[in-house]
């Protein structure tokens, strides 16, 4: 049996082996059942993205497509603005991630390494920012961007993402900065190193692992964000994938293959990122949540 009967407790296993084994099997069936529930909707999505309507309507839902319609993907990519939305998502996400991680690192460095009276207050304001619901800021932000002519402009989205992700990013960075040994930095200052050199050439490279973690978390948040883009962007040419596919799917009410292919295109980048970076994603989500 491929089930855990680790070497640690052979005695107990021999005490009541059958009961233990049955209990273990039940637990595994339970866990696998949950995993199937989590994955099944996505498997079904992938299957119908490769079918034509006839197959969607007539074959059993989880049947394999008889003649996979890869053309569905080509069609939605070439017919609509999916390519444009995709590109918008990439550069808006990337710009906001870079700004957030840089600004958050600068603040965290100033708070943990430099001496100034207001540091506790400033940190407190960032941490309280974690609790503010975005919907309570929508109307004033809408009015603000209208007045400074940034309505329907990608910069409005990039700056908003940066502002709202700073608190969580600083919170994750903070834990790492506190544990980082200060001897190297102190020695550098003794040798006459400037603060800027210290930050950019010594501290920032030393924090690379946690910077990567926060960057990934930010990337996922920004890639999936819906409300801000839906509210502040009206031109098709600036829409991100999340909002773009929402309108795009509207045109295909009845073409299941096209809808499936569009949804698959929007989630594939995240799935690939997850396959490659799952450990860091798990780490980031854990670090970003527990302290609440």
């Amino acid at each position: 049996m491929g089930i855990d009967q680790s070497t640690e407790m052979p005695k107990r296993l021999s005490d009541k082996p059958i009961f233990q084994r049955v209990a273990k099997i039940i637990l595994y069936v339970f866990l696998i059942g949950v995993a199937v529930l989590q994955l099944l909707p996505l498997v079904w999505l992938f299957l119908f993205s490769l079918k034509n309507n006839q197959e969607v309507f007539n074959l059993p839902p989880l049947a394999l497509p008889q003649d996979p319609q890869w053309g569905n993907y080509v069609n939605v990519w070439t017919q609509g603005n999916i390519g444009q939305y995709f590109f918008n998502s990439v550069y808006i996400t990337a710009s906001a991630v870079i700004l957030t991680v840089l600004f958050a690192s600068l603040v965290t460095f100033a708070i943990t390494r430099m001496q100034w009276k207001l540091s506790t207050l400033v940190l407190g304001l960032f941490m309280v920012g974690l609790m503010i619901p975005v919907h309570s800021t929508l109307i004033p932000l809408f009015n603000f961007f209208l007045n400074i002519n940034l309505m329907d402009h990608p910069l409005a989205i990039i700056l908003t993402y940066t502002a709202f992700n700073l608190p969580i990013t600083i919170m994750i960075l903070l834990g790492f900065y506190y544990t980082l040994p200060r001897e190297i930095e102190e020695a550098a200052i003794m040798d006459g190193c400037s603060v800027h050199r210290l930050f950019f050439q010594i501290t920032l490279p030393m924090t690379a692992p946690v910077v990567a973690t926060t960057a990934i978390i930010n990337m996922i948040y920004n890639w999936n964000e819906f409300v801000f883009v839906n509210t502040f962007i009206s031109s098709d040419k600036f829409k991100t994938l999340t909002v773009g596919i929402q309108n795009f799917i509207g045109q295909y009410q009845t073409d299941w293959g096209a809808i499936g292919a569009t949804l698959m295109i929007s989630i594939i980048p995240i799935l690939i990122a997850f396959l490659v970076l799952s450990n860091r994603i798990v780490e980031g989500i854990t670090a970003g949540s527990v302290k609440g």
């Binding site: 949950v34 989590q38 969607v56 619901p133 309570s136 800021t137 994938l241 499936g260 949540s289």
Partner: protein, 292 residues
């Protein structure tokens, strides 16, 4: 050393970019939300000061209270679902091979955009071609439910994908906390003859009480401000049966241009979230005293 690290100019340079973004895009908007709530305003024309009229209207607006009731119901469901997540996590944190893989699989839906999840589940719930009704028909059930069009069940129908989406997130948090419980305590209890059930209930659970408290806050506040899936799947319909506070606010502001009234709702949401966070933390404060 001290002189270099307390250089006011450097500190300002490092802190101000992030601080200004936080002030301009997060704090000033929440203050303005409260201020706009005192106005009659269509978002374009001049504002007219009407004192607390919007808040009085809020108190008497039965549609608003019905929406608030739905948000409250979501909060109750979410807290109840935490029990299920906790049970799964306790199983996972036992001696389970592949626990790491399981929790990663569970996490996948959490990484997808709300729009993709909503669009996918709209197909799953599709009255004739959706996977659920196809299955129900195949086992001989006629008059299959109209999951998203039936006012009696629509809120529950939307809650299922919410559970699906967040399961992995909470399991991840609980799993990490359970793995942090010192092994010596568990071993000592086992030697004293404690059953696995007793170890879980009497030793591990009290030790992760702090984390459970944080997740209750996250679940309640997250539910009270919930918007995304509801907005994409039903826009609060049919007939207001799935309307929640945030969707009602959004409609008041951006569909019917009652910016003043919308702001009052937004401000109410902000205060509600802050009060609920405060009270849950206060009510559960005693449990925090448990030390490892």
């Amino acid at each position: 050393m001290n002189k270099v690290m307390s250089d006011k100019k450097v500190i300002a340079l490092y802190v101000l970019p992030a601080f200004l973004l936080l002030m301009v895009l997060v704090y000033i908007p929440i203050i303005l939300t409260g201020y706009y709530g005192l106005m009659r305003w269509d978002g374009i024309g001049a504002m007219e000061f009407i004192g607390l009229d919007n808040y009085q209207r809020l108190l008497q607006d039965s549609t608003f209270w019905r929406s608030a009731g739905h948000s409250g119901l979501l909060a109750i469901f979410s807290v109840l679902s935490l029990v299920g997540y906790l049970i799964i996590s306790m199983v996972l944190a036992g001696k389970i091979k592949g626990a790491d893989l399981f929790r990663k699989i569970y996490l996948i839906p959490m990484l997808l955009s709300s729009v993709a999840i909503a669009q996918l589940w709209m197909r799953i719930y599709h009255p004739t071609n959706g996977v659920i009704n196809r299955f129900l028909e195949s086992i001989g059930i006629e008059n299959t439910p109209l999951w998203l069009a039936d006012t009696n069940i629509v809120l529950y129908s939307i809650f299922i994908p919410i559970i699906w989406q967040y399961a992995g997130f909470y399991i991840l948090i609980y799993y990490a906390a359970l793995k942090n419980v010192p092994n010596e305590l568990v071993e000592a209890a086992r030697i004293d003859g404690a059953t696995p059930w007793q170890i879980g209930y009497k030793i591990k659970l009290p030790l992760i009480a702090g984390v459970i408290k944080v997740t209750i806050v996250l679940a309640v506040v997250g539910s009270l401000k919930y918007f995304d899936l509801i907005w994409v799947m039903t826009q609060g319909g049919p007939n207001g049966a799935s309307e929640v506070i945030a969707s009602y606010m959004y409609k008041q502001a951006f569909n019917t241009y009652n910016f003043g009234y919308g702001s009052a709702i937004g401000f109410f949401l902000l205060i509600l979230c802050l009060i609920v966070t405060y009270f849950i933390r206060k009510l559960t404060a005693s449990k925090e005293d448990v030390q490892y």
